[in-house]
């Protein structure tokens, strides 16, 4: 195998590892209320962009949403429901048992 082939194979392996790590990060984020709130905020903000540059931002929002659906479909459904709920108080009050560290 040539040096070029080895480098290409290494790059592909690195890429696969990075994608797997990102997918796992997304899956974990969507399994916690805070992670879901954060992803919902970023996504909604990008999808609501208007004016110059907004096309790229809305695409960014759609990409996040798609990645989220691949990583944790159920989490995305819960995220949607949570986002629509009226927000009162703090999350600590809303969830009396709190979250794990």
């Amino acid at each position: 195998m040539s040096a070029k082939d080895r480098a290409l194979r290494q790059a592909r392996a690195d890429d696969a590892r990075r994608i797997a790590a990102e997918k796992e990060g997304m899956r974990q984020a969507l399994s916690t209320p805070d992670g879901r709130a954060l992803i919902a905020f970023i996504t909604r903000n990008a999808l609501d962009a208007e004016g110059p540059g907004s096309k790229q931002l809305r695409q960014f929002g759609r990409d996040i949403l798609q990645a989220a659906q691949f990583a944790n479909w159920d989490g995305v459904q819960i995220m949607r429901e949570e986002w629509e709920k009226p927000k009162q108080g703090t999350r600590a009050e809303a969830e009396e048992d709190g979250e794990e560290e």
Binding site: F41, N45, G51, P52, R91, A92, E99
Partner: protein
């Protein structure tokens, strides 16, 4: 009851955040609060992030890092105690340090949202919801973020203000200004600025499009003679440069995104997309200065300092911190 207020300020960078921290310390001292500035660098933050909570933290004796901050009153000190009766102001990039000040009252100042994501990923958000942790927002974008994450029920505004750049360069009268359009071309720009510049050149070859940059004096001089400043960045907070342009008599055009939504009333670009914006730029550069700009937009920027001082007094009076 007097409470010392410690403002943690980045020592190594001359950006909007450190300037805002200097403005806060100055406004506090001017209004009779006991404000103390503590300069930090990234290595110290890293060390502190990995330490367990202590009675106090030593940052070292430093002096004001940049000449242009000399205009702000600051009382520099070298350490921050972690004790009751002390208020510690952390910019959003240090929000992960809030648990280290578990005995003090912590005020997290959300000067941006996006720049705080790195720190956010390093802290359990429930630490930011504790009763001793308060939140203040610089832009409505930050406020929406605090609400979305349910970090606090009551949050108060704490903006910043535009420095009067006329000391660096006197603004030219509108009619004497050349047909000059300035563009922000840094990494935060999300729009296709090259495409917009090409379109402007196609529509009106006499208009000169120039990327803005350089020293503060240089930027002030550019704003003092340009007719429009186009900033289509990602706006992590309510950015300074569009406001500085307005203060120099240069009209601004900014993204309707993130903190840019707070700048809509000084130069919003909610409607036009790339294809239309070039025509808007040409119209603005070629047209007369609008009455709205002189009557409403520019005075709003000049009022920012008074508004900021009011916000500071209101916020820290809530903490009963005045001497």
């Amino acid at each position: 009851m007097s409470k010392p207020i410690y403002v943690l300020t980045l020592h190594t960078h001359r950006t909007g955040g450190p300037e805002a921290c200097h403005q806060l310390a100055d406004a506090l001292i001017e209004q009779g609060f006991d404000a103390r500035t503590v300069y930090y660098d990234f290595a110290q933050v890293e060390a502190l992030a990995n330490a367990s909570p202590q009675e106090g933290y030593y940052f070292g004796a430093r002096v004001c890092p940049f000449d242009e901050y000399a205009r702000y009153k600051v009382n520099v000190t070298d350490a921050v105690p972690n004790t009751e009766g002390v208020i510690v102001v952390l910019p959003e990039t240090l929000c992960h340090l809030a648990p280290k000040f578990d005995k003090a009252t912590v005020l997290i100042w959300w000067l941006s949202v996006d720049n705080g994501f790195g720190a956010l990923s390093r802290v359990n958000l429930n630490h930011l919801r504790k009763p001793n942790v308060k939140h203040a927002w610089q832009s409505h974008y930050a406020r929406k973020f605090i609400d979305a994450l349910m970090l606090a029920e009551v949050v108060l505004p704490l903006s910043d203000y535009t420095v009067d750049m006329r000391r660096y360069a006197a603004p030219m009268p509108w009619d004497e200004r050349p047909l000059l359009a300035l563009f922000n071309t840094n990494h935060k720009v999300v729009a296709d600025w090259r495409g917009i510049v090409a379109k402007v050149a196609e529509l009106d070859p006499e208009i000169e499009c120039v990327p803005v940059g350089g020293t503060r004096e240089g930027v002030a001089a550019m704003f003092a003679r340009a007719r429009i400043y186009v900033d289509l960045g990602s706006m992590p907070g309510k950015d300074r440069m569009p406001r500085e342009a307005v203060a120099q008599g240069c009209q601004s055009l900014v993204s309707f995104y993130g903190g840019g939504q707070d700048l809509m009333d000084i130069g919003g670009s909610r409607g036009p997309f790339e294809t239309k914006i070039a025509a808007d730029i040409v119209r603005t550069v070629r047209g007369p200065l609008s009455h709205t700009f002189e009557r409403d937009i520019q005075p709003k920027v000049f009022r920012e300092k008074a508004v900021f001082f009011d916000e500071v007094a209101r916020l820290f009076d809530e903490f009963d911190a005045r001497i």
